[in-house]
Symmetry: C2
Subunit: 219 residues, 2 copies
């Protein structure tokens, strides 16, 4: 294949959203894992619902709203500061272990690398800097067009920003909904399936399935 640009999704793909578990556990003893899982699930549901009902609000607000709901659902009482603490955890999520090495290697080979995320720049910029990826990756946010992935308008924005042909872009995500949107738009796609999940049945097949990003180095 002739690939001129690599696009990475951020949350769940480069960065482990469940690295909030520890902080959640320290604030709500015994609930860390449950909070982390329910929070992520609601976050995804909420941006999809905002997109479906044409009511864009930034991902930072969606993430906070999803956290409020999660704590309410678990009948946990909390203060505003608890929300702030947990929101701050999003600015220092762990990168998956192979990420830094792989992106550095690809950068040496002059591959054009872009992070394209539903997150807002105020969430992404500190995180990408903290994990020392700023030198290899450009960062694009759907916030620039106020259309969430997986809507076609979001991928169109990334496509036009990169200025290369659609089928010369390899789009990587661990989120199958993201692969569905990107494939359907016309990108080549690689599903990063770290958890050995079955493929979703959505009439879309990713072009590649990798167990982690390191496999990119072989192509």
């Amino acid at each position: 294949m002739t690939i001129k640009a690599f696009i990475y999704d951020a949350y769940g793909t480069l960065f482990d959203v469940h690295s909030v578990t520890e902080k959640a556990e320290s604030l709500f003893n015994g609930y860390g894992k449950q909070i982390s899982e329910a929070w992520r699930q609601k976050q995804v549901e909420y941006f999809m619902l905002h997109q479906l009902t044409d009511r864009y609000i930034p991902f930072s607000e969606i993430t906070k709203n999803a956290l409020s709901y999660t704590l309410n659902k678990l009948s946990l009482s909390y203060k505003k500061e608890d929300l702030d603490h947990l929101m701050n955890a999003y600015l220092e999520l762990q990168a998956y272990e192979e990420v830094s090495e792989t992106l550095k290697n690809l950068n040496r080979r002059k591959v054009k690398q872009t992070i394209f995320s539903n997150g807002t720049k105020d969430m992404l910029t500190p995180l990408v800097k903290k994990r020392e990826l700023s030198d290899f990756c450009n960062v694009l946010s759907v916030d620039d067009v106020k259309q969430y992935k997986p809507s076609p308008a979001a991928y169109k924005y990334a496509h036009e920003s990169l200025g290369v042909n659609c089928d010369e872009i390899l789009f990587m995500s661990s989120n199958f909904w993201d692969i569905t949107g990107a494939s359907s738009y016309g990108f080549k796609t690689a599903w990063i399936n770290r958890s050995k999940l079955p493929e979703d049945v959505l009439g879309i097949e990713p072009d590649y399935i990798y167990s982690n990003l390191k496999e990119l180095l072989n192509i």
Copy 2:
């Protein structure tokens, strides 16, 4: 309030989607509840994803695809007939206990009642007949316009089909995502919250919250 028409969502609102549990349990011993819950969750995710990526396929297919994924995810092996058996369970879901009585009563008061669902007519018609609601309710499906709730285009179709003003329609659903879409479109809404869930944090409040449909009789 002056309400000229009542609209009910079907799945989860009039009919208990989890009444498939028994059949699932009989086919996959020990997994009935898990199958039922994961199946419903995937079903909702899948029609949202098809809507978000502009790739409409009928709800009957989505429901079957969600079931396949669910069984794959649980590493259960199955035959085509198992899928058919479980899909048939959708044609005879239980109605919640107050439904028949309440709709009958409202019909005597000459209230115009409509079921408006993401389901296809081939799924809805046998079910509504089986639960003896055909005499009180008209049935509308998003399949007529190929736009899933909660997109505005879906509610617009129901609105135009009824031919009354938007704010003279009371829309009822147990699904908060459906309330969000209907409120955002402009209907009056009543969230039927049988499970005492907290409200989702989506910037939308339902006009009414009822613990079941019987409360409609007091307005």
